[in-house]
Amino acid sequence: MKRFLLKGVIKDKGRSLLPIIVVATGTMLTVVMYSWLTGIMGDSIRMNANFNTGELKVMTKAYAADADQFPNDLAILDADNLLTELKAFEPGVDWVKRIRFGALADFPDANGETRGQAPAIGWAVDLFSKESKEAGRFNLQESIVKGGMPANAGEVLISDELARRFDIKPGDTFTLFGSTMDGGFAFYNLKVSGTLLFGATGLDRGAIVMDIADAQKAFGMEGACSEILGFLPDTYFNSEKALAIKTRFNSQPTLAQNEDEFAPVMITLRDQAGMAEMVDYTDFVSGLMVFIFVSAMAIVLWNGGLLGALRRYSEFGIRLAMGESKGHIYKTLLFEALLIGTIGSIFGTVIGYSIVLYINIHGVDMSGMMQNSTMVMPSVMRTAITPTTYYIGFIPGIFSVILGNALAGIGIYKRETARLFNELEV
């Protein structure tokens, strides 16, 4: 019987073609919209993770208490040892050392005296190791406005705004003035290899990106680092996985009972300032958008189901007249809806997924629209491919068609056998 109905759906194009096209279109739009919204919000979280929070972060307990002030006097001392331990503890995570600092960038005149000064916020990352992914995380190559990437020790990238304000060109030098890890004067001469434009005001005002070995020398932090960041292999932040790793790390007997304020402690992206709200907001907004879109699609497809059932009013009459039970007709109607919904959803998901995959790989350049943006957001937007991408389209695709047909099919039970022939004559 099921095969018979399937043949009917495939061969009777008048019955199935339009509903399948409608279902496929709705499914495709649902898949693309969901992936686009998830992608934009996910990329913003990813950018924050890349610059500041990581998906996991290890600091000393004392540093963690005032992390927003970059208290490098409370930094991790034996960073390489801890890094090795973390790599053994969770090999699937990419663990990286970082030094965050606030300092004064002092630009000299021809006599070596102060010509101009500006406060700078710095990121010291591994720029020179072949296996390092840090330059990619900061999107450095693509963000360079003038000059190029640092090629040697002592070379740094500074924000283009800072460079323009003090008429600095690649090749010019300046002095970084701050505090060493033990509180002493930190004076360190650096050469500008290039200027950067990240496209976010907060970053572009006074950012300095330098190699971590230079920062260790500048701030007397040899062997030390401010924090160790962990990046999960997943494309988008996996809150449950990060929480599981954090719980496992912090509950190790050597750490759980350790009251030393300089013992390491692990936190997740969600634990950091404003990030939990951002993750929750992302989930809420994408959920809300999907709900609105799915609801709208369900109404369209339900209407399609209603029209289909009405179009087959005469057919049902004949079938009833021939002695087929009302329940059987209703069941076959629902089964046909299931077949149409499934076929349409498969087509829609395949087409939608192809579009999503293309945008995921190539991205959409929105930099022209974000020149005055103050948010830490990527200028190239991409769709997100998550497990949900594969099934989200089936929700409106199948259920709305079945729902439409189920409601429309109720009319079958209202038909009276005595009046069937009169109706069929008409």
Binding site: A62, L104, Q117, T175, S179, G183, G184, Y188
Partner: protein, 258 residues
Amino acid sequence: MNSKLRRYKVCLCQNVLTALLIGATTLYAAEASSQDGKSILRKIDENLSSRNQIAESSMTIHGRRSSRTITAKSWTEGDQKSFTEYLSPASEAGTKMLKLRGQLWIYTPAADRTIQISGHLLRQSVMGSDLSYEDMMDDRKLSDVYDVNITGRDTLDSRDVIILELTANVNDIAYYRQKMWVDSERYIPLKQEMYAKSGQLLKRAEMKNIKRVENRWYPSLVIYKDMLKEGKGTEFRTNTISFDQQIPEHIFSKASLR
């Protein structure tokens, strides 16, 4: 009726006279307290301020992780000029600091650069200590920048002290209000609390090892505590100090930084 009115007028006059007498007495007492306070402040200035001075000092900074000691030699002339050369540890040796009429420069041999410190940076800690550049720079006499009132008497470290409350009468000052416990015999502060205009306690200083240096009393150890940060404070020791010396003018020039 007339006698009633006369009695009322007499009574009113008596009341007014009494009120004026009380007011005048209170004002006189406050003025006297202020006058006494001002003279105490001048005596403190006579101990702590000088035409010029040359000092060798050590500053021990107790951080959360470790302590370290920095030694320095400084030349000061009045409240406008001072020059400091850091002698140890090796990482700070050769670093020099020059103050000239409200401007501050630092030279470091490591970078071979002279950097001017200005604006909000002056409020930053010097080498992680509990002292800011502003603290180091302000050599003005207390009697020139603060109004004073005596608020009580007490005993501190077995010494009789007068408690003074100082309120700034100038705007360009780091601490709007100070509470000071002054040795009533030697006129040297034994304890100071520095407050912001909001009333927030910013710093505390305790003066120890009060010694007779030349013809004045001088604390050879001052323990500073920045109340807004954690840590065990900073000990500032004056190892040697001499007043009213001949200091060559070239010391207070930018050329002497390099």
